[in-house]
Amino acid sequence: MSVGGKSFLDNLAKIYGFYTGGFIIFVILLAIGEQMGMSNAAIGYTYMGITIGLYAVIGISSRTAKISEYYVAGRSVPALFNGMATGSDWMSAASFIGMAGTIFGLGYDGLAYIMGWTGGYVLLAVFLGPYLRKFGQFTIPDFLGARYGGHAARSIGILAAIIASFTYLIAQVTGVGIIMSRFLGLDFKIGVFVGLGGILVCSMLGGMKAVTWTQVAQYIILILAYLIPPIVMSYKLTGVPIPEIMYGQILQKIDAQEKVINADPKETEVRALWQKSADALAADIKGLPGSLDTKKSDLQAKLAALPPDAPAADKDKITKAIAALPKDAAAAKDAWTTAQKAQAGVGKAKPIKPYLQPFARLDMKNMLALTFCLMVGTAGLPHILMRYYTVPSVKDARVSCGWSLFFIFLLYFTAPAYAAFARNEVLSHIIGLPIAQLPTWMANWAKVGLVSFKDINADGILQFYELTIGADAIVLAMPEIAGLPYVISGLVAAGGLAAALSTADGLLLTISNALSHDLYYKIIDPTASVVKRLAVSRTLLVVTALIAAWVATYKITIIVELVAWAFSIAAASFFPALVMGIWDKKANKAGALVGMWLGFSTCLYYMIGSRFYGVDWWGVKTISSGLFGIPLGFIAIFVVSRMTAPPSQELQDFVESVRIPRGASKGDEAGMTTGH
């Protein structure tokens, strides 16, 4: 039976049902294996080998030579399954690994991510999804090209799609490398390229068709992996295995525990020490350039004072400390101010702000702005939008938006429970322990730098502000925190891998389609044959993947930030032009060009300006840069369109046709039309 064929489509529920059952049996067998002495490394390799092998089988058996299957899975994906595929397309390494940790750290304010990344689907469902399906082409730039005419709007679309998707892609590839290296003990670079193989094998031969059916399989693994640890944790803590309901009482415990910790004199002592170090830093900055010279001469004096028989390590240490000093006063000011900001941001000198209290870490204005930008960004990301081309009808597109959010919701509404269990565990059982008796999971994760602790007041006991837990540690370490066997840790790693791979697949396809379909076929060579188009597309897919992997091996730290930027870029450049294209019949080419350009450049200006050059408009943070570009884009399209000639009757009719479902293209025939 071929994947994507008629008998496959007729038996989807059965096939994926068997697949899920088979996977659960596989996990149980591994658990038995573990009891019988299977090593952790063997479990890790088995997980990675089996899951990537499964994806490869689906990917290879979905190979296709048909344009409509390669680009839009033959428009034959039922609404529910498209919802699952969209779910894993959407949920990246950041959602899977980082989200619960973000809430763990930010408390209420972290919920901006939860609401932003789900509420965006409401915008998508009412503004775009069904209409894009009615339009029924292959890519998002296709719509811009058809609606606004000519190559200019399409070209801006190609550029924005590539910028937004590529930064996002690098983050996924990095995520794959991290998981591979942590759980298989591979070198990071090798991990990246092994993962790359896993990505390519899914998308190269079968394009969208292969990616769709692999994403469904990946969704099932990632959701099982995400839900099992909190369910067990909930059962252990409350006796009821429904974490989403039971964590209410845990929230109350957190609140009470925070008050206890804030009142502890030992905690006050640690906070005072942080205050002292902050004061010292401030004094150093104020005392520049003299303070830098003093530091240097102090160290040099220390070096000179070393007895000749002192161990070489001591000498080395001081020499290194001298070398590590900023080289001049200006550099010192930069470095120390940055350190000061970072310290103030964590606020270690002040009592813990209540987990449940709104706006303790992010003011209300920024919380509203961030939620808004994430929502609009979600509805403007091309790799998500193009999934709505793959369903059979406009009706299915509407329902599929609902399924998409439902499947995403399963993970997102569990994430706050995840965070609460972890925070409760840390506050109630870790803080206050003698340093010598800390559980082994802390040492394990300290090794890879995700957990760190330092006994600042040297009392041998761990205080709250002596512990730092990286956001990524929460989900990955939860099985160990909950005392679950290693087979569950491996499952969580396989889930994280599925999340990263599935998103990477979708992004890679978006980029290579923008280049092969929009740039090559629509702009450079409209007479290209089907065989040639597919060959170009596959080549570009491999090239893009290799470039992404190559960039990822440099482990640029700003990448995580760039992903947040991708949302604002997508929100400010795509969203206004797409929405106005459907909702404003009078929107014309000039308006769209000015709007997209203005949205994009305003957003970029504020991002770079606020991040590096101290630009500050009403205190809005860099992460919400889209806040200015989005409304400007809308206003520009509206105003400029009315100042210039209205779109042709033909284009206005096109808008009318997109607005009603009747006459939607089905399956293959769409491949024959060229837009307007």
């Binding site: 939860i114 789900t118 009412v126 309901i245 709104p358 706006f359 009706k395």
Partner: protein, 86 residues
């Protein structure tokens, strides 16, 4: 029997439903964020309501909103005679 096509009324209905959907969407997110300190004074089952809205309440409403929109529009397609050909 198929209804006669009334695309103008269909679009007007769609605009109304869209606005209503967005109004509820706006209330459960932005208004709820705005009033979250006050909502937090109400605690049900251990959940302060301000926190709950952000963590779960708004999400449940979002899912319901999209399905509600989908079913109403899919029905409207037929009522206004603009449904897709099978």
């Amino acid at each position: 029997m198929a209804q006669p096509a009334r695309p103008k009324e269909y679009w007007a209905y769609n605009v109304r439903l869209t606005m209503l959907t967005l109004f509820i969407w706006f209330v459960v997110t932005y208004v709820a964020i705005f009033f979250s300190p006050e909502l937090n004074n109400i605690v049900i089952f251990g959940f302060p309501m301000g926190y709950y809205m952000g963590a779960q309440g708004s999400l449940i409403v979002f899912v319901w909103l999209i399905f509600n929109y989908a079913f109403k529009m899919n029905k409207a397609d037929i009522d206004y005679g603009v449904e897709e050909e099978e």
